[in-house]
Every structure is written in C-alpha cells, then in structure tokens.
C-alpha cells in the first residue's frame, strides 16, 4: 500500500480503533491517528513529484472494485488537491486538540467521526474518478451530521437536519449532472461507461452549448450548496452556529472547500461553454453574497453566525474570481481555499475556546475578554486580521489576486485575460474590504475589547448535556498549552503564506492555467467578443509600447 491509500486507510483504521477503545483512550487514539495521517500527508507531499505542474500523482490503481459501473479506483491528485490534503491533515488534529476539554460525552464517537470524515475528505481529494470523488464528498455528510446533531448547541436538531437535506439535495443534483454526462459519454463511445474525470471533461466540452448550460447549472448548482452560494447558503450559519468547535473548524476549513474544489475540478472543465454562459449569473450571485452577507455579518450578535456569514461572503469572492476565467483569479481562488480554511478555522477555534469557558456566543453577553484572556485575544485578533486580508497575512495574498483577477477579466487583449467580469465587478467586490472591516472590527470591539462583560450564570449552559459535565469555572482561564498548540500551527501557516506565498503560487499556477485554458480559448474563438460588462473598455485600442513591461521586468 502506498501513501495515497494510506491517507484513506489510516484515518479509517483510527476511527475504528477509537470506536473499539474506551472513552478515556479515545482522544489519544484520535489525535494519534490524526497525527499519523498528517505524517503520511507530509510524506506524500515530500514525495509528490508533480509540484509545479498540472499533473496528477500517484495515479495509483486501487482495487478494481467498481469497474462494472465504469468507476475506476484511480487515486491521484494534483497540486491543488495535495495542498488541500495537507490542509485537511493539519486541521483535523488541530480541531481534535481543541476539543479535548469541550467534549466530555461520547468521546469515542466524536473522535471517530472526525477520522471518518478525514478519510472521506481524503478520498474526495484523491479521486480521479467522479464517482469515487462523490463517494468521499457525500460520505462526509454522515459524520458531519452526527457531529452537529450529537455534540452541537441548543438548536442542533434543526441545524443538523438542514445541513443534511441541503447538502444531500445539492450533491444529488451534481450527481445527476455527472451521470447525464457519463451516459452521454458512454453512448458516444460505444457504450463504454466511464466516470474518469479526464474523459468526461473531454466529452463535456464537446457538447452543444445548450447542453453544457444545463450541465454546468446542475453540477455547479450542486456544489454551490456546499460552497455555499447565495441563496442556498442558509444551512451554513445555522450549522456553524450549532456545531461544536471542532465541527465548525472542519466545516469551514475543509468541508465547504470540497464544494469549491468540486467546482474547480468538475463543473468548470466539464462544461466550459455552460460556465461561460452562466458566469454572469453566478457572478451576480457571488456579488450578492459578498456584499449582502458582509452586511448581514455586521448586525449579527451571535459570533459564530457572524463568522459563518463571513464565510459565505468570502467564498463568494473566491468563486467570483474563478468566474474571472484567468490565471490570476484562479490562483487567487485556489489559494483562497487554503487561506480561508486557515483563518476561519482559527477564528472558530478561538470562539470555541471562549464558548467552552462561557457557554455563550452572544456578543451582547460576553465581551472585553482581552482583560480576562490576553493570549486568547492575541489569537482572535490575529485570525480576524487574517480574514480581513491584512497584507502580510495569508488572506491578503488570495484576496488581492482574486480582486485583480476579477478586475482584469474584461476582455482586454493586453493581458491575455479574456473574461466577462471586469472593473465594475471588482469595484463592487472590493467594497467588501470596507464592509469586512466593519463587521470584523465590530466583532472585535464588542468581543475582545471594551469593558469586561461576563455572563452571570455561565455554570448552567443552555446547550444541553454536551457541555454540562464541567461547566464550573470561577474565573475563565487563559489559553493553556494544548489550546495554543492547536492554534499556533494555523497562525504560523497564516504568516508564512502571507510573507512567502511564492512557492505556493508557483506551484498552483499550472493547475490554475489548466482550468482556465478552455475558457480562454472559447472566448478568444468567439467571433463577436462580448463587450466588457460595464460597457467601458479600457483603452485597449491605444497602442502601448512593449517597453513598460520590459522596464518592469528589468527592475526586478
């Protein structure tokens, strides 16, 4: 067995071990399994020969279990997937570590669910076959549902059901698209049923535009639920609000990334003409998400809901950048997955740690925590700033690239970036810079700074049995070493990516270019090129000397 298989098998084995062990050992076993998987992921990353290319590795033929269905058990991933695998492998142990204190009931199940989820996510990222991906993608729902439903807050019932139904319907809609595509492919190739991503992408791109329109709508529509896109986002705030800390971390850091990954890996390559035709529609939705949800964040008092809504806004920007159909935007969007995963996960960890001490997420009730938990405040402010896209931290790099991608996607000939978005979209999206500052700072203002406010009856949480066992605290203590250990890796990653994103950027560029390529070709092939959306052309016509760019290059 090689690393790719190990990445799936190790967490599975860990989960079974957790279940087989006792309540006492569960957390240790879980953490160890998570760490071992992380080790395997790191080893795979070190062996990964495809860094900086758009190739897949290891293309390992696993068990030939489902060939009769046209499903190849082919495992392999490219740089994007590899990065996400690393992110997953990092976040899972961190989220477990942060739950040690919070989860006192049904620990075996809890840690096992995380490992089940990890296995499924790994499968999704490693799959080179649509159905194989779908297996992982869909299976994440079960542990996620249980995590929210069993260890969640007071409204966990509604939250978990919503999570379940929305995600299920969404993914089934995607599946319909895939199957339709595969069936068409099979009949076009003499009944050879296959779900191989490459084959389907090739076939999908050859379909008539109207068919592609529907295909894209189906596939992307399904993933849009997961991303989540306005208006199918409403499961997320609730799910985040009610999930236990680690659940929120994983949800924000990994699960919703699968949605974007799906868009990148499936929706975009499989129906390029559809994507192009639907880009205005989805872009408009993304803008509504960015601006509307930022505003909604502003008036939230439940801090977890706030961060959840901010996720919707952030992912909207990432998706918008994907619809810019250029390398810069696509790189930004890909990097956004990682960065949003890190910073939002960090914020959820902070909030969760706070919740563990106060059993409330209401900014009206608790606040000014800097005086009580200074170290915690440092992390909170740090992750908030990362999510605000403060330059020097990771969020900036991706947000900048995304905005730039959107900005330059105006069919200007100079950049070689055809596209249908352009400055208007970029300007509107960039308003999120201000709105983001508004809501994040309002959160910090109430929550971290200001006079200390603590709930009176923190000992009696409303959240039910999950937290009841040891709610007694005289004075909330600051972070302990374990909690710092859980968050520090994320913080370090935030800084490193912020300061030195070059390796990442270099390595995802070919993958991004590969996704974009069919769109570029399509737009350039179109005889009547679309006008820029706002009707204002850059002075593309004005002859520009080649020297400025040359001079720019020389200066480095």
């Amino acid at each position: 067995m090689t690393l790719a298989v190990l990445l799936i098998v190790l967490p599975l084995a860990g989960a079974l071990l957790c279940l087989a062990g006792t309540e006492r050992t569960a957390k240790t076993v879980g953490l160890l399994a998570g760490l071992v998987t992380l080790g395997a992921a790191v080893m795979m990353a070190r062996e990964f020969p495809a860094w900086g290319t758009a190739d897949f590795w290891p293309n390992q033929e696993g068990w030939r279990l489902f060939t009769a269905f046209g499903v190849d058990f082919l495992l392999g991933t490219d740089t994007v997937g590899m990065i996400l695998i690393l992110l997953t492998a990092l976040l899972i142990p961190c989220s477990m570590l942060v739950s040690f204190g919070a989860i006192t009931q049904r620990q075996r199940g809890f840690y096992a669910q995380f490992l089940f989820m990890e296995a499924a996510v790994m499968l999704a990222f490693l799959a080179r076959d649509v159905i194989l991906f779908y297996i992982g993608y869909e299976f994440t729902l079960v542990p996620l549902f249980l995590i929210v439903a069993v260890w969640g807050g007071s409204e966990r019932r509604v939250a978990s059901i919503k999570l379940w139904v929305y995600s299920f319907v969404g993914s089934v809609v995607s599946l319909v698209g895939f199957i339709y595509l595969a069936a068409g492919n099979a009949s076009a190739h003499g009944g050879q049923m296959t779900f191989a991503i490459d084959a389907l992408s090739q076939y999908g791109a050859s379909l008539p535009a109207s068919t592609q329109w529907w295909l894209f709508l189906a596939i992307m529509g399904g993933f849009a639920v997961k991303v989540p896109f306005v208006p199918v986002h409403s499961w997320l705030p609730l799910a985040h609000g009610e999930a236990p800390t680690a659940g929120s971390v994983v949800l924000a850091g990994i699960v919703i990334k699968i949605g974007q990954y799906g868009a990148l890996r499936f929706a975009f390559p499989m129906a390029p003409e559809g994507g192009l035709a639907l880009a205005p529609f989805f872009s408009a939705l993304a803008l509504v998400g960015i601006l509307g949800m930022s505003l909604v964040c502003w008036v939230q008092n439940d801090v977890k809901r706030l961060v959840a809504y901010s996720s919707v806004a952030h992912m909207g920007l990432a998706l918008l950048a994907m619809f810019a159909f250029n390398v810069v935007g696509m790189e930004g969007a890909i990097l956004y997955m990682v960065n949003h995963g890190l910073s939002t996960a960090g914020m959820f960890m902070c909030i969760g740690i706070m919740y563990e001490r106060y059993h409330t997420k209401d900014m009206e009730v608790v606040g000014g925590l800097m005086q009580r938990m200074p170290v915690w405040s440092v992390f909170m402010v740090f992750f908030a700033m990362a999510s605000l896209a403060l330059p020097g931290l990771n969020g900036f790099v991706s947000e900048f690239l995304c905005l730039m991608g959107v900005y330059t996607a105006d069919h200007g000939v100079k950049t070689g970036f055809p596209g249908i978005l352009g400055p208007t979209y970029a300007f509107l999206a960039a308003l999120a810079l201000i709105l983001g500052a508004l809501y994040v700072l309002r959160m910090l203002q109430r929550f971290v700074f200001g006079p200390l406010r603590e709930p009176h009856d923190a000992q009696h949480p409303p959240g039910g049995e999950a937290h009841g066992a040891h709610g007694h605290h005289a004075v909330a203590h600051d972070l302990n070493l374990r909690e710092v250990a859980a968050m520090a890796p994320l913080a370090i990653a935030c800084i490193v990516i912020g300061i030195w994103p070059k390796p990442l950027l270099d390595t995802i560029e070919p993958a991004a270019a590969k996704v974009v390529a069919p769109y570029v070709e399509l737009i350039q092939r179109a005889p009547t090129a679309e006008k820029p959306s706002d009707g204002l052309a850059l002075n593309a016509g004005s002859p520009l000397p080649a020297s400025p760019a040359a001079a720019g290059e020389a200066a480095q």
Binding site: G368, F449, P451, P548, A555
Partner: protein, 768 residues
C-alpha cells in the same frame, strides 16, 4: 529685516529652478498639469546594500520579542529597551545609507534598488501585461531616504519618551504597547522603502493596523475601542482607493514597480497621450487613499478620535509619521497628476482636486480646532490642518513645499504632542485646558511649557520658524500661480494661518499663563493606572495602587485637592526627548539657510531626486502677489495674520480671559452665531452627518438583509420549498381511509384515471 528675508524665501521656493525647462510665467491654465517631457532616472540595482534589510529586521525582531514578552506575560522594561535599541539601529542604518548612497543619488539622480525576497510574482505569458511582480524590495530615492531618516530618528526618540510615559503600564500592556510600536515602525519603513505599490500597500495597511491597535490600547475603554474601529474603517475606505488604483495602474502600465512604472509613464508621455477613464481614475483613487490615511477631506474625522491612544502614539503615528504616509504617496505618485500620464482632460481637475481637498481640510481643521477645549484634540485638529497644507502643497504644484512641511511638521508636532503628553502625565490625564492654568510656574513643568511654546510658535508659523519657511513656500506657490483657483487656495491658506496662530496660542496661553490651576483629570483616557507613579517610585508613597480608587472619586468633579494631588513633573527621559525635539524643530529650518548645492538646499535635493520632482511648477522666481513683489508681500501678509492671530489669542485667553469667556457665552446666546461656536466645538457635526447619511441607512439595510436572509429566504422561501412535500403528502393523506372498501375505491379510481388517460392519449394521438 524685511529686505534681509527676501532672498531666503526666494531660495526656499526653489522648485522654480527647473523652470528652465521652458515653463515660464506665461503658462496657460491648461498647462497647469502639463510638465512637458517626463524623465526619470533608472534605479541602480545594488545588492551590496542587502544589509538594508536589517532596517526592517531590527524592528521586526523587536516585534517578535515584545510579542513573546506579551504572550508570556513577562513583566519588566525589557520591551522598551529592545524597541528603543532596534529603532536606534534602524536610525543608524538610515543615516548610514544616506551617507553612503546620498552622494551618488544627488549626483546621478539614480535611486537605489535592493531586491530582497520574492513575494507576489508570477507570469502567465511572455508578452507585456502577462506577468505580475510585487516583491519585497527596497527603492531608495530622495523622498524615501528623507522619510526613513526622520521616521527612525523620531521613532527612537518617541520610544524613549514612551518608555517613561508608559511606565505605569509595566504590569499591563507595556509589552503590547511596544509590540505595536515596533510593528508600526516596521510597517512604516516597508511603506516608504518598498519598491512597488503592493509593498507600499502592505505597509499602508500595516501602519493602519498598528494605529488601530494603539488607538484602542486602553481596550477597556469603550470610547477608545470605538475610536480605533472608526480609524480602521475610514482607513479602509482609503485603502480601497489604493487597491483599485493599483489595479488600474497595472492594467494601464503593466507593472506596479516604481522603476518600471515611472519609465512606462515617461515613455507613454512621449507621444500624444490619450486619456481614458481607467487612467483618469488613478489620481482620484490615489487621492482617496491619501484622504483615508492623512485624514483629509471627507475622511478626516477619525484622527481626532485617534487621540484615545496614549500620547506618544499620537505624537509618533498620528502626527509625525503615519499620517504623512498620504503625503508620501502623493509625492511618490506625483507623475500621475500630469497630463503626460493621464491625459489632458483629467490631469488638471485631478491636481486641482488635490489642492482643494488639502486647502479645505486645512481651513476646516483650523476652524474646528478653535472650538475645542481639549488641548490634545486641538493638536489633533491642528494636525489635520497641517496635513491639509501639505496636500495643498502638492496640489498647487510644489512637492518640495509639501515635503518640507512634512519634515518640519514632524518635529514640532511631535514636540507639541509630547509636551501635551507630559502635561497629561503630570495632571492625571486632565485634557481640558480650562481646568489647568499657570503651568509655567508649576515646578518641574517649565521645560515642558517652554517646549510647548516653541511648538506653538512653530505651529503658528511664526516668522523665521522652520514651519514658516516651509509653509510659505506653499503659500507663495499658490498665490503666485497663474490659475485663479489656485490663488484662491492661497488666500484661504493664508487665512488659515491666522486661525492657526490663534488657536495654537489659545491653548498655550490658557495652559501656561494665568493663575495656577490644577484639576487632576478623571484619567479616563488612561485606563486604570496611567498616572499611578506610586508604583514606579515617584514619591507617591502612600498612594500606590489604592490611588486608583481615590482618583476615581475625582471624576465626580470636586474635592480634587482633598487628597493633596501633586502633579508629578516629567522625568529625565521625557525632558531629554522634549529638548531634543525642540532642538530638532529649530534645526529643521536650517536647510533653508545653509549651503546649497547647485541652487538646491538639503531638503530640496531629496525631493529633486525623487519621483515627486516631475514638474517645474515653481512658478516665477519673482512672482507677484497683489501686483507687488511676491516674496515681500507674502512675508508681510503671513507675518501679519500670524501676529494678529496671536494677539487675538492674547486678548481673549491671557490678557482678559473673562472677555474671551463672555464672548463665547454671548455667541452661544445669539441665535445667528450659536451654530458657529457649537459647530466648531463638535467638528461641524460631520460625524453626525455621516452617521445619519451612511451609518444608519447602512445599518438598517443590514438589518433588513439579515431579516430577509433569516426569516424570508430561510424562513419562508426555503421553508415553503421544504414543506412542499409534506404539504402534498397531507393532500393525499385523506385517501388512506383505512377500510378495504375505501382502498378498493381509490384503487379503482386510480385504474379509471389510468384508463381515462390512455383514452385521452389515444384520442389526442388520433387527432394529431
């Protein structure tokens, strides 16, 4: 005396030296923004200056150490030590690079470029516009070197001051404070030294963050936190402008690196320049950024609130350095305010807008400052006003004037704030000058008050002061302009100078003269123990920490002497810094008087060897104001308004305070004038207007959206969709009656329906 001055001023307005390029007095108004051929020296890449990275790394090391101290809750003065030391290292390095590269710069005009590390760089094609590069690299031309010189030196001094000032916080936020200050200096240095716009943006937002952290330093005070948020958000508005400007610059010129960018502008300016909206928008967006960072125009209201921060922060960030970043940006991006860069139809409006924004801000800031009773806020508004002057300087076409004023202003405003801080420090945070008086005679405060006098003189642009020398360049440039609008700016600026003199001395007269009056403050700005020097061993024997409670009682407003309040005068470090700054303020005027090289004085040469030096808009060497010799007239006028302002202040606030108070009372009672006093006191209600026009509607809109999202979209639409199956099920539910007959009936009915349908198919199929 008048005659003796003339040459000095004439020389000081030496932007005109470039007038040889053929831009004489006869310029038509349209040529106001036309600079003819643009030329920039290419930067020299010299990696042997790699050690310059230590300028960034030294404060960064201090950031790391202070951060570690803060996290580990180390208590002690080590953070201050590291910070001061690291700043000193940076200052030494700044001086070193000036000494090493300065001669080359001044002789070859070539900026120094030092690539450090890759940051954001990628390419997706081989053509122009198919790559993007924004790396960590240094770009040192005149203005960067000037900026790093005064930033590092002032930062060192102010950190030293703060090490004493913040002593009472050793147990609380000392490390955090120095963490933020170190981070600030790092960011500021990145801002001014970066070789590209994205790097500048990094520093730009970095200083914004530090400003945020330091304004909100007293985090338990809701006001401080709100002020910090306001500062950040308003800065973000400006940042948005900068970000968009960067995109526009890249899409138009293909690079965001200064060197390549300036070359691209220069070469595009060679031919006929076509304007386009995307080029024309650049200067306006940049101006938006400037407005945010330098508290100009519509975005000025954050700066007064920023005074919630500790006073050294006000001095360093909100007076001397950070707020001048906007001026730096304007100077750095000065080429974008030319016809050559953005086309003839938009260049002049852009430049005029800059001028008017600056001029109006200077005036409004000054008028508000007149109505304040909090001396720190007076200085804050004076900063806004001074920054307005600087922006106006760039707007009217004298980058040298603007930059020179930045330089002089940095010294005397830092001095003013630090003296204010010393007073607050001694008076338990009392910031209302009506509750203090005669401090000149209070033991230990003499140096402070004398330094403040110097600062106020400089602020008032007393004749021969460094400030006057630099401000007069701006006024001269404006008043002798060919453009009528610009001349109006000049007149308004002159009026502002008079108002400035009035309010500066209003403060000093109230504080320093008159009967000794000391009401210790409620200490509200300073958390719990800013003044609590008992712990620091300043002879407060009995008080110690308990004094906090005692002072809390003072906030009731009476009985302030019941416990025998002793103002504690500043100590050695504070006084030392004050004196150094005072000396610096005086010396800042020296370049005007001292040797010139090739007709340029020391400061001028910095500007000359930078991207700010793009136009020879110095106006005529011997321009005319009101039909007379420009220099002489300006001197008379400027001196006149300053003296008038000081005199008015003397009458109302030193000679006959009762009169001043009566005047104010009567103004408040007169319906026609009431708004004047009130409006001035409340900053012309700009905040309230913003709140009403933007804040409240936006908040309401957000509430509506949240409602829609949660209760309409989720609660109605999706709930409806979600309930649809259940609803359908209920429709069919009555069919399940439970008896055999009923089921048989429904089955038979179903069969009948099927057959009916089949018949219908047949019939319709037959029909078609």
């Amino acid at each position: 005396m008048h005659a003796a001055l003339l040459p000095l001023i004439a020389l000081a307005t030496g932007d005109g030296a470039h007038a040889a390029d053929g831009h004489g007095a006869a310029h038509a108004a349209a040529a106001y923004a036309d600079v003819g051929t643009l030329q920039f020296a290419k930067a020299t890449v010299d990696t042997s200056y790699g050690w310059l990275k230590w300028m960034l790394l030294a404060p960064l090391a201090s950031v790391a150490l202070c951060g570690a101290f803060a996290m580990l809750k180390v208590r002690g003065r080590l953070p201050a030590l590291f910070t001061v030391a690291s700043f000193a290292v940076a200052a030494v390095l700044a001086v070193t690079v000036y000494r090493q590269w300065g001669p080359t710069l001044f002789s070859t005009h070539a900026p120094l470029a030092v690539p450090l590390m890759d940051w954001l760089t990628f390419r997706w094609g081989d053509g122009p516009f198919q790559s993007f590069t924004a790396n960590f690299g240094l770009y040192l031309d005149g203005i960067s070197i000037l900026w790093i010189l005064f930033v590092t030196v002032l930062a060192t001094l102010i950190a030293l001051y703060a090490s004493e000032y913040m002593e009472s916080d050793v147990k609380a936020g000392y490390a955090r404070f120095f963490f933020a200050v170190s981070l600030f200096v790092t960011s500021m240095l990145i801002l001014v030294m970066s070789d590209n716009l994205v790097g500048l943006y990094l520093g730009w937002e970095g200083v914004g963050l530090c400003s945020y952290m330091l304004i909100g330093y007293y985090a338990s005070q809701p006001g401080a936190v709100a002020a910090s948020k306001k500062a950040f958000v308003m800065n973000r508005v400006g940042d948005l402008g900068l970000a968009l400007a960067i995109f526009l610059i890249w899409t138009n010129y293909g690079t965001v690196q200064y060197d390549g960018l300036f070359q691209a502008i220069a070469s595009s300016g060679a031919g006929t320049v076509q304007g386009s909206w995307s080029k024309a928008a650049i200067p306006f967006l940049l101006l938006l950024a400037v407005c945010g960072k330098s508290a100009q125009g519509p975005l000025f209201t954050w700066l007064p609130d920023a005074m919630w921060g500790p006073t050294p922060v006000s001095a360093l960030i909100h007076a001397a350095t950070m707020v001048t970043a906007g001026i730096y940006l304007l100077a750095r991006m000065a080429p974008f305010y030319t016809v050559q860069a953005i086309g003839s139809e938009w260049a002049e409006p852009a430049l005029l807008t800059v001028g008017w924004i600056g001029c109006a801000t200077a005036f409004i800031g000054a008028t508000i400052a007149c109505g304040q009773f909090d001396y720190k806020r007076v200085f804050a508004y004076s900063t806004i006003s001074s920054l307005g002057y600087m922006v106006m300087g760039l707007g009217v076409g004298t980058a040298f004037g603007g930059v020179y004023y930045v330089f002089t202003h940095a010294w005397f405003k830092a001095l003013l704030f630090l003296t204010a801080g010393a007073v607050m420090h001694g008076m338990a945070g009392q910031v209302d000058f009506r509750r203090l008086g005669g401090l000149l005679r209070v033991p230990g405060f003499r140096i402070t008050m004398l330094c403040m006098l110097l600062g106020c003189l400089w602020l008032a642009t007393a004749p021969f002061s460094a400030a006057a020398l630099s401000k007069d360049i701006i006024l001269y440039q404006a008043l002798t302009s060919d453009v009528e609008q610009v001349r109006w700016m000049g007149w308004l600026g002159l009026l502002t100078a008079g108002i400035t003199a009035y309010y500066a001395f209003r403060v000093w007269f109230r504080l320093a003269l008159g009967p000794v009056r000391i009401e210790p403050g409620p200490d509200q700005h300073h958390g719990h123990d800013d003044h609590d020097h008992g712990a620091a061993g300043h002879g407060h024997g009995g008080h110690d920490h308990g004094s906090h409670g005692a002072h809390a009682a003072h906030s009731g407003g009476h009985g302030h002497d019941a416990h025998g309040f002793h103002p504690h005068p500043p100590g050695l470090r504070i006084n030392f810094v004050l004196v150094v700054l005072a000396v610096g303020s005086i010396l800042a005027g020296l370049p005007t008087y001292l040797e010139k090289s090739e007709g340029f004085n020391w400061i001028q040469r910095f500007v000359q060897n930078s991207s700010a030096w793009i136009r020879a808009t110095g106006g005529p060497e011997h321009g005319q104001i009101l039909g007379r010799d420009g220099h002489g007239t300006l001197f008379v006028l400027a001196t006149g308004v300053v003296v008038a302002g000081i005199a008015l202040a003397w009458v109302l606030h030193a000679g006959n305070r009762a009169l001043g108070d009566r005047l104010r009372d009567s103004m408040l009672k007169t319906p026609g004038l009431k708004w004047l006093a009130r409006g001035s006191e409340h900053g012309w209600y700009v905040d309230a207007v913003y709140n009403a026009l933007l804040g409240v509607p936006l908040w309401l809109g957000a509430q509506v959206l949240a409602f829609l999202d949660r209760f309409v979209l989720d609660g109605v639409v999706f709930a409806a969709v979600g309930r649809l199956p259940g609803f359908l099920a209920r429709v069919f539910q009555p069919l399940y009656v439970g008896t055999v007959q009923a089921y048989a009936l429904t089955m038979a009915g179903g069969i009948a329906l099927i057959f009916a349908w089949v018949v219908w198919i047949w019939l319709s199929g037959g029909a078609s």
